[in-house]
């Protein structure tokens, strides 16, 4: 019997798992996919918002500001790339300045520190590629950027390091309410647990409906993005938002933690929860819209485009509460923006909710906040590089020539808890394939390493999901008959 089962290993489930691992509890983290961080967490803007956007008094407002403050410590503990680079909300026309004032006021009400309303000149001084005809901007120093999937992966790994059981390929098919517990019927077997935490993202409504009459609905809303070559990575230095209008929030132009440029997203209703396509219209919209706030974006340097789905609910706010229809079943649902920012604060709150229901928990005396240290080879000094290669020659073999990633780093991320088993899993953790050749050169090598380390055949390696096979069967073998002399 588990104390708690968390359904969904995205940014929310992983944060909660890691937070629960601080206590002496038997916790299982269930994930339907073959990797953690594989839903909305792997396709979003990666922004740590300052917190002026949400309506004062909402859960979004509360957890945004609280979560933002928690990022430094967490990302330091877990070695996750995070930079507090500040954000600008750009007024693209004079009447937008009214909205800027309103955002400033909301920020004040929400407790956002270090905001300033900038004139056109001040804004352009800070960000030289802003469009020529902007009217001004709201600057918020506390906004930042984070590797969102790297964060979730690190949290899941550290949770497992600290005793949480992670079970992949375990879609929850049904939940039975027992006397004092729940039985979860999953794709990988049945488990029994005292408490359930529903962090199933886009599918949180379906999971909740297994134990209760429906109380909320999750509606997918798609956002498309374009990612640019590192040549464009310094086009902006802050997160550049556009003023929200009644027509939408506008698109964001920002650098990523790995110094690429990211432009997007649009917002569009879709009818399916796996409608992860990009469209010509969507990409066209992003391109046109981005020009309103930032000039000179070199769209011929796009290296890839992708889509993410927001888990929205009509009421607009996060849903974080014990289900009214099911005791001990906590919903953490409708976590759309600023969900990534809020996630650490949400996790603390959820653990407190659980304590309210279950009573105090014993501390896990063996909790270690750090992951096994990792090596970022490219960032080492020459001396450190030499030493490392001497100790482990695999750090002397560059696999990804675009990002200079070594075999040593790739083997390391395969060998970790919650480690990589797929080509995209390797890419999300160590970045080979994220560069300008998009894996053209390194994917055969990455597959060879995966096959060797996981001790499976190379044609069993998948790109991402479990049916995303890359190779089919072996080629024809030579039919040479050697004649005895």
């Amino acid at each position: 019997m588990y104390d708690a089962a968390i359904i969904g290993a995205g940014i929310i489930g992983s944060n909660i798992a890691r937070e629960l691992s601080k206590y002496d509890l038997k916790v299982i983290l269930l994930e339907k996919d073959n990797d953690v961080s594989n839903g909305t967490t792997k396709a979003n803007s990666g922004i740590v918002h300052a917190g002026y956007d949400a309506e004062p008094g909402t859960l979004k407002a509360k957890f945004n500001v609280l979560g933002n403050e928690m990022y430094e410590k967490l990302c330091r503990e877990l070695e996750v790339p995070f930079r507090r680079i500040g954000s600008l909300v750009v007024a693209t026309k004079e009447e937008d300045m009214e909205t800027i004032e309103q955002l400033y006021a909301k920020g004040k009400a929400n407790g956002v520190p270090d905001m300033k309303i900038l004139s056109k000149e001040e804004a352009q001084k800070l960000e030289s590629n802003l469009s020529d005809n902007i009217a001004g901007a709201l600057y918020a120093a506390t906004a930042g950027i984070v590797g969102s999937w790297e964060f979730a992966i690190a949290l899941a790994e550290n949770a497992v390091d600290n005793g949480v059981e992670l079970r992949l390929n375990s879609e929850v098919k049904d939940i039975q309410k027992l006397e004092e517990s729940y039985r979860l019927i999953t794709a990988s077997g049945e488990i029994q647990t005292k408490y359930v935490i529903n962090a199933a993202g886009l599918f949180a409504d379906a999971i909740h409906n297994m134990v209760s009459t429906p109380t909320f609905e999750i509606i997918p809303n798609r956002g498309q993005y374009q990612l640019f070559d590192k040549n464009s990575g310094k086009h902006v230095n802050t997160v550049v938002f556009q003023c929200p209008t009644k027509h939408g929030k506008g698109v964001v132009v920002l650098p990523t933690v790995h110094y690429n440029l990211l432009v997007g997203p649009n917002a569009e209703a879709v009818d399916s929860k796996d409608a992860l396509d990009t469209s010509k219209e969507g990409m066209g919209f992003i391109k046109e819209k981005a020009k309103e706030s930032v000039k000179g974006i070199r769209f011929n340097e796009v290296i890839t485009s992708f889509s993410g789905l927001r888990a929205k609910t009509p009421s607009g706010d996060f849903i974080i509460e014990e289900s009214k229809g099911a005791k001990g079943f906590i919903n953490v649902a409708a976590i759309d923006s600023p969900g990534l920012t809020a996630a650490p604060a949400i996790a603390e709150y959820v653990v407190n909710l659980l304590k309210d229901i279950a009573g105090e928990f014993n501390i896990n005396k063996n909790f270690r906040p750090n992951r096994r240290p990792s090596v970022q080879f490219a960032a080492l000094s020459d001396e450190e590089k030499m030493k490392l290669i001497e100790k482990d020659p695999r750090y002397g073999r560059i696999i990804c020539r675009c990002e200079n990633i070594t075999e040593g780093e790739i083997v390391d991320i395969i060998k970790r808890n919650a480690g990589a088993t797929t080509v995209d899993g390797v890419k999300r953790r160590a970045r080979p394939g994220s560069g300008r050749c998009q894996g053209g050169f390194c994917s055969p090598w990455v597959m060879e390493i995966l096959a060797r380390e996981l001790n499976i055949n190379i044609n069993e390696i998948v790109k991402d999901g479990k049916n995303s096979y890359i190779l089919t069967e072996a080629t024809k073998q030579p039919q040479v008959q050697l004649q005895e002399a």
Partner: protein, 421 residues
């Protein structure tokens, strides 16, 4: 710190030929650095024949062509390091490289030859909308899987792009038992060599769909199908002509990009038209003593021309090391005029040319019955009649030196003129 006279970056056909030629011209201290596990570069995965018709006057496979140079290199005792990656070069010719046995190496070179080749344009770069399933490969990556790793990449194949690798892979997939539903060209003519269109598509009854492109990709995990559409004369898809084609594999042969990240690090001037370094007649880049050859300079149609160009680069590097490449002469600029996509070399020191100035270029579209005209400061100095010219094939024009001798030329332009003109 290691010291070499000539460091060659890349052990493909360009690097091999350059190193051998440098040795033949009296340089003994040479190092070839190759990132793969064997020499030969992309030739090793090109197991089809058709290589060497000009250089060896016989038809070889890619590995056979490479082998000839590898044997010569080894017989000459030229040093090389495999499984070794160059991390950076500087304009004062310091090379940083890394491998598992030597660790991190600082190498001081008197001359450097850049021979890094090119990479393939990807799906992301051409912005095909849709989902992101497995089963979408660049043709060269698929070629590596099939020919080097020994695994097929799919059963029902659509190929976008008629670059030579795409054409070659169409045939290869059929030979391995796959069904190739069609090879699509965005333009009204194929981008690859005519002989490849004939030998790889026509001989195997593979449909060639001119003026077509892929406008959508479908499938969640593995590719399920693509949406194709006809294109107009500006190569844009025509609305209403979309058609769904069920397939599990899409190969992309949509262009090659010279790999110049190292060159950029050394602040070497690049040509927007070629994507490669600006070079002079000696294949020297804007950085003194740094030479470049092969597909890192401009994408070639056949490897024989890579060999020829790289021999010039190797010879020049040797001369440079021996202090024989000095010149106070003024550089002449070349310019791509009407109908010409680019001209290599971009700069010329006329007194370095022995017999004839060789200009390499590609036309910007298909032409019939034209003249390729070379002008020195607007004065025609050479005219070649062409019945047919296509961007798929590199054109060469040789201008004998006696025409240029003693003239004060500033600019040499190449352009296309209609026959009547």
């Amino acid at each position: 710190m290691l010291h070499y006279d000539v460091v060659v970056i890349g052990g493909g056909p360009a690097g091999l030929a350059a190193a051998i030629e440098a040795k033949k011209n009296g340089i003994d201290s040479i190092l070839v650095i190759e990132r793969d596990r064997e020499l030969g570069g992309i030739l090793q995965q090109c197991i089809h024949n058709g290589f060497g018709l000009h250089v060896f006057k016989e038809e070889l496979t890619g590995p056979e062509y490479a082998e000839r140079f590898i044997i010569e290199l080894e017989e000459m005792g030229i040093e090389y390091k495999l499984d070794t990656m160059v991390l950076s070069i500087t304009k004062d010719k310091k090379v940083t490289a890394i491998n598992t046995s030597d660790g991190l190496m600082d190498i001081d070179a008197k001359a450097i030859v850049l021979a890094m080749g090119c990479r393939e344009r990807t799906r992301g770069a051409i912005n095909i909308p849709g989902s992101r399933p497995a089963g979408v490969f660049t043709a060269g990556t698929a070629q590596r899987f099939v020919n080097m790793e020994g695994y097929m990449v799919g059963k029902k194949v659509v190929i976008l792009g008629t670059g030579d690798i795409g054409l070659i892979m169409a045939r290869r997939m059929v030979l391995e038992g796959a069904e190739v539903l069609g090879v699509l060209a965005r333009r009204s003519y194929p981008a690859g060599l005519t002989r490849n269109v004939v030998q790889c598509l026509e001989d195997y009854n593979i449909p060639l769909l001119l003026s077509h492109t892929v406008v959508g990709i479908e499938g969640k995990d593995r590719l399920k199908g693509v949406i194709i559409a006809q294109t107009d004369k500006n190569r844009r898809p025509i609305a209403g002509t979309e058609k769904y084609v069920e397939c599990d594999t899409l190969l992309l042969s949509v262009g090659l990009i010279p790999e110049n990240e190292l060159s950029k690090g050394a602040e070497i001037e690049l040509d927007d038209a070629t994507g490669g370094p600006i070079v002079n007649e000696s294949m020297e880049t804007s950085a003194e003593g740094i030479f470049a050859c092969g597909n890192v300079v401009h994408v070639h149609d056949i490897v024989d021309w890579v060999t020829e160009e790289s021999q010039r680069a190797g010879k020049s590097a040797a001369k440079y090391v021996k202090n024989q490449l000095h010149s106070d002469s003024i550089e002449v600029y070349t310019q791509a005029g009407t109908g010409i996509g680019y001209v290599v070399p971009q700069r010329i020191k006329l007194d370095h040319i022995e017999n004839a100035l060789s200009l390499f270029m590609r036309v910007d579209k298909i032409y019939k019955d034209i003249h390729i005209v070379v002008k020195a400061d607007d004065k025609p100095i050479k005219k070649i009649k062409k019945v047919f010219s296509t961007p798929a094939e590199m054109e060469t024009v040789k201008v004998p030196m006696h025409i240029l001798k003693g003239q004060e030329v500033k600019k040499i332009t190449v352009e296309i003129q209609n026959e009547e003109a």
